[in-house]
């Protein structure tokens, strides 16, 4: 699904060290991958490259065999329409209802006027679909509640619902559980992992907590100083190496 060949990313901030340095990575359809690494290791940059939000300074990133850099505006938008993005701060609109936020997942397929229609007068079919999704996530009663009136955990479920409503082929999540307690983090990851597996969706998640990640993922991509240190299963030795823990 994704192929990175010698992908290097340098930000225009005058620094000499690249954020990502000659990365080679291949991600297959339906895979569930966890990105690990300390702060500043390059996890968010890698997710940005996969989404096409960032362009590599050197090397290439391709999605379904087509280079993201060479795509036209329209094609790139269509490609992104197949990628759900969940950032760390969730990126929800607090003053909108939950249904509106979930509906905004389909912004690529609906276009501007379709999105406006959903915000003003949502179709019954879409309402029913969102309701079903929220039922699976355990918060159907919040469908018409303003998003800023929900707890942190509930907002995270809304972000997952938005991603799933998009009908994506891949979900890119950047530390989606960093702001919740360990029990809730585990529940949310389980939910994300199960729902993605059911839908056959590729899942790429960046996480801080390696122990938590080990419960849900088989393939780990460990980054350090912008380079891949681990690709595969995670052993304690590799983990120590990645975070430079004392043995």
């Amino acid at each position: 699904m994704f192929e990175l060949r010698a992908a290097t990313l340098r930000y225009d901030t005058g620094g000499t060290t690249p954020a990502l340095n000659s990365i080679d990575l291949s991600i297959q359809t339906g895979e569930q991958i966890c990105l690990l690494g300390a702060s500043g290791a390059g996890k968010s940059s890698l997710l940005g490259l996969l989404n096409g939000r960032l362009q590599p300074s050197a090397g290439s990133v391709s999605y379904l065999g087509v280079s993201l850099q060479d795509m036209s505006v329209k094609t790139l938008r269509q490609a992104r329409g197949q990628m759900a993005w969940i950032p760390q701060d969730l990126g929800l609109v607090p003053s909108l209802r939950v249904s509106h936020n979930v509906s905004s997942g389909q912004v690529a397929s609906k276009g501007f006027w379709g999105m406006m229609r959903s915000l003003v007068l949502m179709s019954q079919t879409e309402q029913a679909r969102i309701h079903e999704l929220l039922q699976r996530l355990g918060i159907p009663e919040k469908m018409f509640t303003r998003t800023d009136q929900l707890s942190g955990g509930q907002q995270q479920r809304v972000a997952i619902a938005r991603a799933l409503h998009q009908g994506p082929r891949v979900i890119l999540a950047d530390e989606p559980v960093s702001a919740v307690d360990p029990t809730r983090a585990e529940d949310l990851l389980r939910l994300l992992s199960e729902l993605s597996r059911e839908a056959g969706v590729t899942l790429v998640v960046s996480l801080h907590d390696a122990r938590l990640a080990q419960r849900f993922f088989r393939r780990f991509v460990g980054l350090r100083n912008g380079q891949i240190e681990i690709d595969g299963e995670l052993t304690d030795r590799e983990l120590q190496k990645l975070y430079r823990l004392p043995s």
Partner: protein, 593 residues
């Protein structure tokens, strides 16, 4: 920049302004004739008129109530119509003047933003009274002159605030929508505009309240709104009628303010959700049980109906000039805007000597006076507010200030009573437009600059007292509670803990009011004092439209400079003192900014 720097700069500026305006302390006392007027005027406050005071006027036909309602209807109608036009300018201008809209565009397209901003700054820098003078002279007496006079500057003001609000709104949702394949416009509208919408609506309601007051003031240039009737009654010495008009202005202003304040909570925080368990089985059941705000819904419907009525009701005022006559007037007016030496000789090089003569002899002096008039009034208002906020803040004047029990006290009712009295005073002064306050003060003090300073300072102190008290009431410092728990009094807690922590926020508010004071000072001269407004008024009376235009452009330039200076100082404050020194109240930005 430190607090000390600002305080020293403020005091220095006040001294310079005092000497520049050649202010005499004895002028602060009412003139002998003014004393009689003051006694008569204030004693009429408790007996507002319900009928004409003069029997001669009574015999003319229409009743006083009809006249009052007619003037109120015209005032409200022009305000509402102007606001609908201003909203169009504000929304379109606000979007194109925001950084958020242009951030992913090319450099050449981004230059468009500067053009839009310049246009918006120009239209809002000219005071609505000056727009009214220009448009009345160009178009003749027509409701459209009044409506455009309000719509243009208010459109510019709305656009400025809308653009700032959009730029301050977090773009995280917009980034996600783009990452999910949304187009730039869809991400902007669904991710940024929808998030900023509660703040935009709240500010628009506040502007409607301002537009009502401004519409009343248009009466002073002959448009038959409440200000016209008020000025006529005052000049006839019918003070009970004046109070009826004043009470009407105060009542409607406060009603609009109350409405805006009530709307703010459900708009920014959402309607209160139902307490009972929500059904989960069907969308229809969930929809019927959703949290709703009847106030928001009712207000929306009421505003749309009111707008419709205002637009379709027949015009009640306007001259009977035909379109051809209006066109001729307009052509003559535009020809007379050309400086007279150029008009006579046809030689444009003479414009420089004409400009030089006018600017050196009158223009620079008038600009200087106008600047100091506005500055001094803002400084007085700030000083009154800094002292008064300690009295008006509810969280300080309750029996348990800042949640600290202070013991049983007999003086509590006195304290609460005096705080309520000061709040009432602030309420009344901010509800009466500066221009009307200045008109009344001039009758009492006589033709002295004090009258204008007092009027401007009172209105702005009223606004600052309310905003400052809100800042204090919403502030969570901790040190104030410690001081109170250690036996300090309310004022010690205010001056030692609350005021220092909120000082930058006060300065921000004061700088916003300073901009307003400079803007108002450009027109107050129309009432007497030798500032830009005086020159404008004089040029109009002498039918020197070229000079009138020059003074109006100068007043706009002065307001622009004031805005620029205030903007720079505010960004300096924001940069130096990020959170927590500058708190954001409930919602995010105050609608009064």
């Amino acid at each position: 920049m430190s607090r000390r720097t600002f305080l020293v700069a403020g005091i220095a500026l006040a001294i310079v302004s005092f000497s520049s305006l050649n202010i005499q302390w004895p002028d602060l006392l009412p003139s002998p004739g003014g004393r009689t007027i003051a006694v008569d005027f204030f004693s009429a406050a408790l007996t507002p008129a319900f009928d004409f005071q003069s029997a001669a006027t009574r015999s003319l036909g229409a009743s006083f109530a009809e006249k009052l309602i007619g003037a109120l209807w015209i005032t409200l109608r022009y305000a509402v119509m102007a606001m609908t036009m201003a909203l169009v300018i504000g929304v379109v201008g606000g979007v194109f003047a925001s950084r958020a809209w242009w951030q992913r565009s090319s450099k050449s397209l981004r230059a468009m933003r500067s053009v839009v901003r310049l246009f918006l700054t120009a239209i809002r820098s000219v005071h609505e009274l000056l727009w009214a003078l220009l448009l009345l002279t160009a178009m003749g007496s027509s409701p459209w002159a009044a409506i455009w006079a309000l719509a243009l500057p208010y459109g510019g003001m709305l656009a400025k605030v809308f653009a700032e609000t959009l730029d301050e709104t977090s773009d995280t949702a917009s980034v996600v929508l783009r990452a999910n394949g949304g187009s730039g416009i869809a991400a902007f509208v669904a991710g940024i505009v929808s998030r900023a919408l509660p703040d935009l609506v709240t500010h628009a309601v506040y502007r409607l309240e301002c537009a009502f007051r401004a519409s009343a003031v248009l009466g002073f240039v002959g448009i038959p709104t409440l200000g016209y009737e008020l000025a006529t009654s005052f000049e006839d010495g019918h003070f009970r009628e004046v109070w009826t008009y004043l009470y009407t202005i105060i009542f409607v202003s406060l009603a609009l303010e109350w409405w805006g304040a009530r709307l703010r909570r459900p708009l920014t925080k959402g309607a209160t959700p139902a307490k009972q368990a929500m059904p989960t089985d069907s969308v229809a059941a969930l929809w019927s049980k959703r949290a709703r705000s009847p106030l928001v819904r009712g207000s929306g419907i009421a505003f749309m109906l009111a707008t419709l009525v205002c637009w379709i009701a027949p015009a009640q005022w306007g001259s009977q000039l035909s379109i051809a006559q209006r066109y001729d007037n307009f052509v003559r007016f535009t020809l007379e805007l050309v400086p007279h030496p150029v008009r006579e000789s046809g030689n444009w090089s003479e414009i420089l000597s004409w400009l030089g003569e006018l600017l050196v002899w009158d223009g620079v002096v008038a600009m200087w006076s106008t600047f100091h008039l506005g500055t001094l009034a803002a400084l007085f208002a700030g000083a009154v507010a800094l002292v008064g906020i300690g009295v008006t803040a509810r969280s300080l004047q309750s029996s348990t200030p800042r949640d600290v029990f202070m013991g049983q006290s007999l003086s509590l009712s006195v304290r609460v009573g005096s705080a309520a009295l000061l709040r009432l005073g602030a309420l009344v002064f901010r509800a009466i437009p500066e221009f009307i306050l200045a008109f009344i003060c001039l009758q009492i003090f006589g033709p002295t600059v004090w009258a204008l300073i007092v009027a401007l300072a009172l209105h702005n102190a009223g606004v600052l007292l309310r905003l400052g008290a809100e800042v204090i009431d919403n502030r969570d410092v901790g040190a104030d509670q410690v001081l109170l728990s250690q036996g300090a009094g309310r004022f010690v807690s205010y001056y030692l803990a609350l005021l220092p922590s909120a000082f930058n926020r006060f300065l921000l508010l004061l700088l916003y009011r300073w901009e307003t004071c400079i803007r108002e000072a450009t027109v107050l001269g129309m009432l007497s004092f030798g500032s830009l407004g005086f020159l404008i008024s004089e040029a109009r009376v002498r039918l020197f439209y070229d000079e009138m235009l020059l003074w109006i452009v100068l007043s706009g330039a002065l307001v622009m400079l004031g805005d620029l200076a205030s903007d720079s100082l505010r960004s300096l404050l924001r940069r130096d003192h990020r959170q927590p020194s500058i708190i954001r109240g409930p919602g995010s930005r105050s609608p009064y900014l």
